[in-house]
């Protein structure tokens, strides 16, 4: 599946193969005794945990020590404090997922100014430039993920319906791209469908946002939630009221994957490849630390996941067999 989106500055995507490490690169990296810190927006989601696994494993292969993995809990203040503290530790590189587009900019710029290589995941604060303020951005093709989610949901929408789009109320590259792409796909391919948008400022508030939207727009026949963790809140809030409302989302988190496999309200997932993205992040970091040119934007295409391919998709994303309840839900394993 090709990458269909553009980067935060309009960059064309480079495939992860552009940061392939040769045996000599790995040997050179090992000789440097590198120290790297990781600053994540959250460690609560399955996506985050898989991505960090990919980063840490690949860095380990290159002899780079991970000195800290910080969970910022979506807090800009926590991220600024973490970056300021880690700057004092003088690591060779910091890998960061910026929690927003404005308030954390200065803290990230200070990292680069201190001579520490900065590799970004999923979001580039406005005004920061690749090659100048950070080495590279590594993300999924979030525009493509939005289109996949729209396509999956479209099959479950009747003619002339409305669809609810539960979007994140923060200026964040990844979620913005998904939101815009979802709406554009519907506009082009399902002009009969009206897209009604509601925004949630935090994961906890996603359920209430969905309820308010459904109450206000009686003809809503389906929902798209821009990632899986708030989607779980939406399912909890909506299920008692609208049993038949189909939902699509992004990321193969445990809860939404189980819901999909069991034939619940989740009818399709636009899957990211967090483990492979984590490996690409680590390879990009090593490439930058070897002072070799990095692509401005490395992007990985998404996966279209339905009930028919959820088991192999789970194995691919989670790097382990699907749990028994998923296998039972799909009748490939007897419950006994």
């Amino acid at each position: 599946m090709p990458v269909v989106g553009l980067g935060p500055h309009g960059e064309r995507a480079s495939p992860p193969e552009r940061v392939t490490l040769l045996p000599q690169d790995i040997a050179d990296a090992r000789a440097k005794n590198l120290r790297v810190a990781i600053v994540m927006h959250t460690l609560e989601s399955d996506w985050s945990r898989h991505l960090v696994q990919g980063v840490v494993g690949q860095l380990g292969e290159c002899g780079a020590i991970v000195i800290d993995v910080v969970d910022c809990q979506f807090s800009a203040e926590a991220q600024i404090a973490a970056l300021d503290r880690l700057r004092g530790e003088k690591p060779d590189a910091i890998i960061s997922l910026p929690v927003d587009n404005t308030t954390v900019t200065q803290a990230h710029l200070a990292v680069s100014a201190a001579g520490i290589k900065l590799v970004l995941i999923d979001n580039a604060p406005t005004g920061m430039l690749p090659g100048k303020d950070y080495a590279s951005l590594v993300s999924a093709d979030n525009y493509g993920l939005g289109k996949i989610a729209a396509q999956l949901l479209s099959d479950h929408l009747p003619a002339d319906a409305a669809v609810g789009l539960l979007a994140y109320d923060a200026d964040f590259f990844a979620s913005n791209e998904r939101e815009i792409a979802f709406s554009q796909w519907m506009e082009i391919n399902r002009p009969d469908v009206a897209v009604k948008t509601a925004r949630f400022p935090s994961i906890d508030s996603a359920g209430n946002a969905a309820i308010r939207l459904i109450d206000a727009e009686a003809d809503i026949a389906g929902l798209f939630v821009v990632w899986d963790t708030p989607c779980v809140e939406v399912i909890k809030a909506v299920s008692p009221r609208s049993k038949a409302l189909p939902i699509s989302t992004v990321d193969l988190g445990q809860d939404v994957t189980t819901n999909l496999a069991e034939g619940g309200s989740v009818i399709g997932i636009a899957g990211q490849r967090p483990f492979q993205q984590g490996e690409a992040v680590a390879k990009t970091t090593i490439t930058a630390l070897l002072n070799r040119p990095c692509p401005d934007w490395v992007a990985l295409p998404g996966l279209s996941v339905t009930r028919s391919n959820v088991i192999e998709s789970y194995q691919y994303v989670w790097r382990k067999p699907a749990p028994r309840d998923i296998l039972i839900g799909l009748d490939v394993l007897r419950s006994s």
């Binding site: 064309r12 005004g127 430039l129 815009i180």
Partner: protein
């Protein structure tokens, strides 16, 4: 239209009657002194602007009522009480900036200083003018509705893929210039003016990218810079004495039209070295099987783009590398001629082709250094832009900020508190509405994104 530099240099002579102290003119002066950072306290306004204390107090009170300046912060004390800082309210309203390329569109939001706040880019096919105009409107609508407090919109600035020939005396556009064949009939400017009820400005992509690179990229602090954009078309921009060069009619840097030859073939630089040549030769190499890598791409995707060829070159495909190197040699030859003429400190290469490829950069560097006088190349740096399409958005934002606060335009709206309330603009809008086709009743709402 005056630049910010010209606005800053508008000082009055002593001893003559003070026309500039009429309310609108001195408001314009005081606002631009504060906006451009030439005066940051009341004392500095008195000294730099040569105004009396009462005039400064009165004008600042008016500007504060109009929410164009504020005095909420204090400066550093130099003996007595710390002075209150007079600061420009750059968040008073927003500017929308748009960049349109042959294959992509970008939309951004900027403050009144011309600093980008947010941006989004996506692939688009601009041959369908109606769909392109609708898409731009939808993205602007999305960008504005994403803002928490529904800010006022004071202007829309567009960067387009062609030279923009406009009347230098016009304060803003009311009809679409013919920047590409038949685009004067697209209704782009007219639609944006009517739907968003704000003045619209337009410059060429190359000119705005040059300006953006100067203010936010590799060109910061540079006095002389040559900017070369390489895509389907190849164009150049020039910075001289720290300012972008606009030319007599805005048609600067159309180097893609220059004739070049390679291996016995002749054509324009656009045709011989641009994205179309790279795509066509890449497709031929894929079809013939000369390049196994490109043949594989063609089999999977069903087509070959110039970007595919550049990326194949980057990962070691020899045929693709040769195609890209040809482009680099031809562009390098033309750039060397310009460098020998202009002696720039810096040459910046930008555009989708330059962005995805180090071989092109190396080939251009080799040709320029080989074909230039040693004095020209002694301190010359040749870099790839890190700004991508953000350069065009930032340059468009600077264009809008300069136009909005140009003293000629500013004096017409400052006392009204908004450029959108300027009577001449309202009248122009009414005439646009009157000229609309009868079947089209009322301005349609911006499409939801």
């Amino acid at each position: 239209m005056l630049s910010d530099n010209a606005a800053a240099n508008q000082t009055r002579s002593k001893g003559r009657p003070r026309n500039s102290e009429s309310a609108a003119a001195s408001l314009v002066d005081v606002l631009n002194l504060v906006r451009l950072g030439h005066a940051t306290t009341r004392q500095e306004l008195e000294r730099v602007g040569e105004y009396g204390r009462a005039i400064v107090a009165d004008r600042l009170a008016t500007l504060k009522d109009l929410r164009l300046v504020h005095e909420s912060a204090t400066g550093i004390a130099t003996g007595g009480r710390a002075p209150r800082l007079v600061q420009f309210a750059s968040d008073r309203a927003r500017l929308i900036v748009v960049t349109l390329d042959q294959s992509a569109v970008g939309v951004g939001l900027a403050d009144l200083h011309g600093q980008l706040i947010s941006e989004h880019h996506e692939i688009i096919e601009i041959t369908d003018q109606t769909a392109t105009v609708d898409r731009i409107c939808a993205l602007i609508n999305w960008m504005m509705t994403r803002q928490a407090d529904a800010p006022d919109l004071w202007g829309i600035s567009i960067a387009v893929p062609g030279p923009v020939l406009t009347d230098p005396d016009s304060l803003y556009l009311l009809e679409t210039p013919d920047f590409l064949p038949n685009w004067d009939r697209s209704g782009l400017v007219e639609t944006l003016t009517q739907r968003f009820q704000a003045p619209v400005w337009m410059r060429s992509n190359v000119e705005t990218m040059t300006m953006g690179e100067l203010h936010g990229g590799a060109g910061i602090g540079q006095q002389s810079m040559l900017f070369v954009k390489i895509g389907q078309r190849i164009g150049a921009g020039l910075v001289s004495n720290g300012h972008t060069y606009h030319g007599a009619a805005g048609a600067v840097g159309l180097i893609g039209h220059l004739p070049v030859t390679f291996d016995g073939s002749a054509g324009s630089l656009d045709a011989m070295a641009g994205a179309e040549m790279i795509k066509t030769r890449g497709f031929a190499a894929a079809q013939s099987g000369e390049s196994a890598h490109l043949a594989d791409t063609l089999a999977r995707a069903g087509e070959i783009s110039a970007i595919d060829v550049c990326q194949a070159a980057q990962v070691g495909d020899e045929v693709s590398a040769e195609i890209v190197a040809q482009s680099g040699k031809l562009i390098g030859g033309v750039v060397a001629t310009l460098a020998n003429m202009l002696n720039p400190q810096l040459i910046v290469l930008a555009g989708s082709i330059a962005q995805t490829n180090d071989i092109l950069l190396a080939s251009i560097r080799e040709t320029v250094y080989g074909a230039s006088h040693p004095l020209v190349t002694r301190d010359l740096r040749i870099l790839r832009s890190q700004m991508s399409s953000s350069a065009a958005l930032l340059g468009a934002a600077k264009t809008a900020a300069e136009a909005l606060f140009d003293p000629t335009f500013l004096k017409d709206w400052i006392t009204l508190g908004s450029p959108c309330l300027n009577p001449a603009f309202l009248q122009a809008q009414a005439s646009l509405d009157a000229n609309k086709p009868q079947s089209d009743e009322g301005p349609p709402p911006p499409p939801e994104i």
